[in-house]
Amino acid sequence: MELINYVEIVVGVLLIVLAFLAINSKSLIKAVMFLSSMSMMSVIGFVLMKAPDVAVTEAVIGSGLVTSLFVFTLLSVRKVGNKA
């Protein structure tokens, strides 16, 4: 029990830090990466809270699909314009 509590705290702090970084980073690509890792952190959070099916969904859709959407958008824009 003790261990899980510590893990929860670590995950929580990491989530907040990553979210903060994602919002405040200057580069868009980096921000997206922070978002992605934050999403992975939330997957751990879901697992900790006994929601494995949600965790799987979040991992696949939230982390994977959303990140790739962001990246594709940024990449396609890079090709069109010069600044992103």
């Binding site: 868009l28 921000a31 099916d53 699909l65 959407l69 314009g81 992103a84």
Partner: protein, 111 residues
Amino acid sequence: MLQYAAIVLIMLGLYGILTQRNVIKIILSLNIMEIGLNLFIISVGYVTDGIAPIMTTNHNTNSLIYVDPLPQALVLTAIVIGVGTTALGLAIAKNIYSKYGTFELDEMEEE
């Protein structure tokens, strides 16, 4: 424990929407808010010492405490909807970019 983090995440998301002037960043903040919201919803249904609400054959199901399954079902739906919104937002962001050549809301000329 995690629900406090979830609330902070929601606030951070709102903070991002309020402060960021970049289209992508705003969508990103929306995502952060949604993740926070999802965590919060799950934490509402979370029961300490409960087990995942999944049908298994090994246990005698009557004697165990399940965490509430309903919030989890809600979150599944919410995640999917969230992706839909994000995708739409990004598509609009792309349109904005091709029209104005920038993601910065402040750099677009007022119509």
